[in-house]
């Protein structure tokens, strides 16, 4: 049975703002990443979970108990705020002990638990430090220690890495991941960064305009995105129009301008106009020859051993293709061919039937 269950959770701010009928279930000890652009409702979800906002409708079940009517103080959820919200007038130890005092702890027991929580985040001995003396990374760990010290039922993290600079970010992400696994606590993380969501979440939920687009493991989301938004939001890629047709020899093909490439024989495939998303590795550059997709290199962006080539197609499309650094020069005519066949294997290319407008 799932530990944390959301049922049709709804909080309206306007016709298109807020959160609409969000439902999901999370196993005990697992981590869920809420991923979406700003205004997608992910922060609203977190605030509803924390009890800082009341839902218009819906339920939040923890081990079968509906906590939606409870205020934040009664909920026993731990929260790490985006800017940490450490109490500046209390030292590290009192910050971490604040939630333990709420549980009625005091004296040696309180001190022991504070010590434990701090050593969990590698800040043993920091009890009497002032908050202002800590670096950004240390503040984040104190915030984490403070949230987990009372042993909350669910841990909530609001953009946990957004305040850190890129170098520190990578390392902190690894540490955070290890820490969450070590504590084994059911966790919900809000982020707008795909890397953070994929690295930290066992399960990722993609939100857009207050509605759940898809929920699943990172791999599922990347390989089989439920709709064009999820496909486009996760990872790089470029869109182009095409048509899905039956191949003369059976199976399916896609026609893009002058090119005709085989598709995998997936169930439910329909012929007709479609929007196609090509990941940069789906196609490769070849010398001009008849049969492929003809185009001209408009621009190239150097990225180490490889380059990203912007290729303008004869039909007016623009595709980003990954190739070796010396493969072509700007202005050069090329032909694009599939890196492997079928062209959509391993989720490097996605086909979405054109929806009638």
């Amino acid at each position: 049975m799932s530990y944390l269950v959301l049922q049709e959770l709804t909080r309206r701010y306007g016709p298109e703002q807020g959160l609409f009928e969000l439902s999901f279930a999370l196993e005990r000890g697992r981590t869920l990443s809420l991923l979406g652009p700003s205004g997608s409702g992910k922060t609203t979800t977190l605030r509803l979970l924390g009890g800082f906002e009341r839902p218009d409708r819906g339920h939040i079940l923890v081990a079968g108990e509906d906590v939606a009517p409870l205020g934040p103080a009664a909920r026993r959820f731990g929260m790490v705020f985006q800017h940490y919200a450490l109490f500046p007038h209390l030292d590290v130890g009192r910050n971490v002990g604040f939630g333990l005092e709420s549980l009625g702890l005091g004296g040696a027991e309180l001190e022991r638990r504070v010590r434990e929580a701090l050593s969990l985040v590698d800040l043993a001995g920091f009890e009497r430090r002032r908050i202002a003396e800590l670096s950004g990374g240390q503040q984040q760990r104190v915030a984490l220690a403070r949230a987990v010290a009372p042993e909350p039922r669910v841990l909530l993290l609001d953009e946990p890495l957004s305040n850190l600079d890129p170098g520190l970010r990578e390392r902190t992400r690894r540490e955070l991941r290890a820490l969450i696994q070590r504590i084994g606590i059911t966790t919900v993380i809000v982020t707008h960064e795909q890397d953070d969501a994929f690295d930290l979440g066992d399960v990722v939920a993609v939100l857009r305009q207050g509605r759940l687009q898809q929920i699943g493991t990172p791999e599922t989301l990347y390989r089989t995105p439920a709709n064009p938004f999820v496909a486009g939001f996760l990872g790089r890629g470029s869109w182009i129009d095409g048509t899905v047709v039956r191949a003369p020899a059976g199976g399916w093909e896609v026609v893009v301008e002058s090119a005709r490439w085989p598709l995998a024989d997936l169930p439910g495939r329909q012929p007709g106009p479609a929007r196609l998303l090509f990941r940069p590795g789906a196609l490769r550059l070849a010398d001009p020859h008849p049969g492929g997709l003809a185009g001209v290199v408009v621009d190239r962006r150097f990225a180490g051993a490889d380059c990203y080539y912007q290729v303008g197609t004869g039909g007016g499309g623009m595709l980003e293709v990954l190739g070796r650094a010396g493969a072509a020069l700007a202005g050069q005519a090329v032909t694009l061919v599939p890196a492997a066949e079928p062209v959509d294997q391993d989720g490097v290319m996605h086909v979405f039937p054109d929806e009638p407008a």
Binding site: P72, A73, A74, F87, P88, F98, S102, A147
Partner: protein
């Protein structure tokens, strides 16, 4: 939610009753004659030259005070914020001193120093060997002098704060675009200081317009509205006094409106930048000049208060024609401490100031919490209501309270408080509300709402969250608000002179009474007490603010 709404409604109702209602009653009575509604009072206000003169006098004195204070305060702020020279820190703090002291103390100190029998006059008289005092400190220029002396501090403090907020990168940007120092000053620095300067100008204008002590003591034949109102009322012409009161409040609100009209430029630099570094004055000569000039200026500022201190040790009647007092004694202080009748005003002022400060802070906290936490219409009304007593001169409020609470008519919310010991604390409280609430509101707005949420998510109830998180973080704001409110009430003259009773007579009135009886030494001793107590409270208040800030 609904409990908040009820509280907000109750509180705004109370404030409307105590603040707005009395003002409306004044407006009503200004239009009432013995035989029903009339415009007679306003007509005589606009036709009699004496009345006209007071109105015109108030207006130009206030504007001239703004000009003089700006001319003094702005250059001084640039000097202390931008240049570095020995003694800068100490002098920079000293220069802000006049704002700490009650206006009345400054005024009598001025009187003792520059008045016709004051130190400076006697000195000049002795040097020149004349029989008569060389000048009389009286009339418009005397008022202006005192105003400039006490009000340049607004420009000084606001300009310094504005300069400190100014992003140095903007000045560097101007320089890199080829602007010289003059062009940078006029095209970048001063425009960015606009909001600060406008704020200082408004504050100076309102303070000068409401100023009572200086015109009362130095005015002589020169009339301004606040003194004219008190005089008219003393002469028993209540209708005319009401009309004058209405006109004075309209003038104050018009000043406010004009200042607001000036548009809202966003605060200089957005606060994220780094202030320009202080330039150490390179030339040795100039540095010496700045140092000497700074010290002389500070001495000039302190001189009136030093005079007050000196005079408090002079026995009554012993100082007649000499340049310096011939004898010194502590009899004046002993009189203050030993005679219960003299001790009494001191106690009165302290208990009334303390009580009203505490109540004002409590009200401000309650109102602030309601405004920040809820978004009901009643809560939105609270902030302007609390600010209103600051926008209207003290004389106006005193008259309004005297009007509203001199009639027993409980069914329309009027009770007799005039003549009881409660009218003066009520007046102090109302005057303290804007000071306390401005500080408390700013403090509450500066609190990160996430801190309260963090406390809640860690299991703290509303009560514990308030005492453990909100209150400690609010302490600097509370200290600042309490200091301002307490010191203002302690030295108040403008409302006291209209509303006091014998039992509650405050320090300020006792000082005036001693002066009238030529008890200069006792008056000076009271002034010193007032000065020391105000200074002490200020030091304590800023210490608190520092420790927790």
């Amino acid at each position: 939610m609904s409990r908040h709404r009820v509280l907000a409604l109750l509180l705004s109702g109370l404030l409307v009753w105590l603040i707005v209602y009395p003002l409306l009653l004044v407006a009503r009575e200004s239009l009432l004659g013995p035989a029903g509604p009339t415009l007679d009072h306003f007509r005589s206000l606009l036709t009699e030259p004496r009345e006209w003169g007071a109105l015109w006098g108030s207006l130009w004195i206030s504007l001239a005070s703004v000009g003089l204070s700006a001319a003094l305060g702005i250059p001084l702020a640039f000097l202390f914020e931008r240049a570095d020279f020995p003694g800068r820190r100490l002098l920079g703090a000293l220069v802000a001193l006049p704002v700490v002291l009650p206006p009345l103390v400054g005024v009598i100190a001025f009187l003792f120093l520059y008045g016709e029998t004051g130190f400076a006059a006697r000195l000049v008289q002795a040097v020149l060997g004349r029989d008569t005092p060389p000048w009389r400190l009286e009339g418009a220029w005397a008022i202006l002098l005192v105003h400039a002396y006490s009000m340049y501090v607004y420009f000084y403090l606001f300009t310094r704060a504005g300069l400190a907020r100014l992003d140095h990168a903007m000045l560097e940007a101007a320089a890199s675009l080829g602007a010289g120092r003059w062009r940078t000053l006029t095209r970048v620095t001063l425009p960015l200081l606009g909001p600060s300067l406008r704020g200082a100008a408004l504050l100076t204008f309102m303070t000068a317009l409401a100023s009572f002590s200086a015109p009362y003591i130095f005015g002589g034949g020169f009339r301004v509205m606040p003194t004219q109102i008190v005089l008219t009322r003393l002469n028993g012409d209540y209708g005319l006094a009401m009309a004058q009161t209405v006109v004075l409040s309209v003038l104050a609100l018009a000043g406010l409106g004009l200042a607001r009209e000036g548009g809202h430029v966003r605060a200089a630099g957005g606060g994220k930048g780094v202030a320009a570094p202080r330039r150490r004055i390179a030339s040795v000569g100039l540095r010496r000049l700045a140092t000497v000039g700074g010290w002389c200026f500070a001495l000039l500022l302190l001189l009136p208060h030093l005079t007050l201190l000196l005079l408090s040790f002079v026995p009554a009647g012993s100082w007649t024609v000499e340049a310096l007092p011939p004898a010194y004694t502590i009899a004046n202080y002993r009189a203050l401490l030993v005679e219960p009748e003299r001790w009494r005003p001191f106690l009165n002022s302290v208990w009334m100031a303390s009580l009203t400060t505490v109540v004002a802070l409590g009200t401000a906290l309650l109102a602030g919490t309601l405004v920040v936490r809820t978004r009901t219409r009643a809560a939105r009304l609270l902030e302007p209501l609390l600010a209103l007593p600051w926008l209207v001169p003290g004389t106006v409020f005193a008259i309004a309270l005297a009007t509203a609470f001199s009639v027993r008519a409980p069914w329309i919310g009027r009770f007799i408080l005039v003549g009881t010991i409660w009218i003066l604390p009520l007046a102090y409280l109302i005057r303290n509300l804007p000071l306390a609430s401005r500080a408390v509101f700013a403090g509450l707005r500066g609190l990160d709402p996430a801190l309260g949420e963090a406390a809640a998510s860690l299991g703290a109830g509303r009560f514990r969250s308030f005492w453990r998180i909100t209150m400690p973080l609010l302490r600097p704001a509370l200290a600042a608000g309490a200091t301002l409110a307490f010191v203002t009430a302690l030295g108040d003259l403008v409302t006291s002179i209209i509303l006091y009773t014998y039992d509650t007579r405050p320090l300020s009135l006792e000082i005036l009474a001693s002066l009238r009886q030529d008890d200069v030494g006792v008056a000076a001793a009271y002034g010193v007490f007032l000065m020391i107590l105000s200074g002490l409270v200020f030091a304590l208040g800023s210490e608190r603010a520092m420790v927790t800030g």
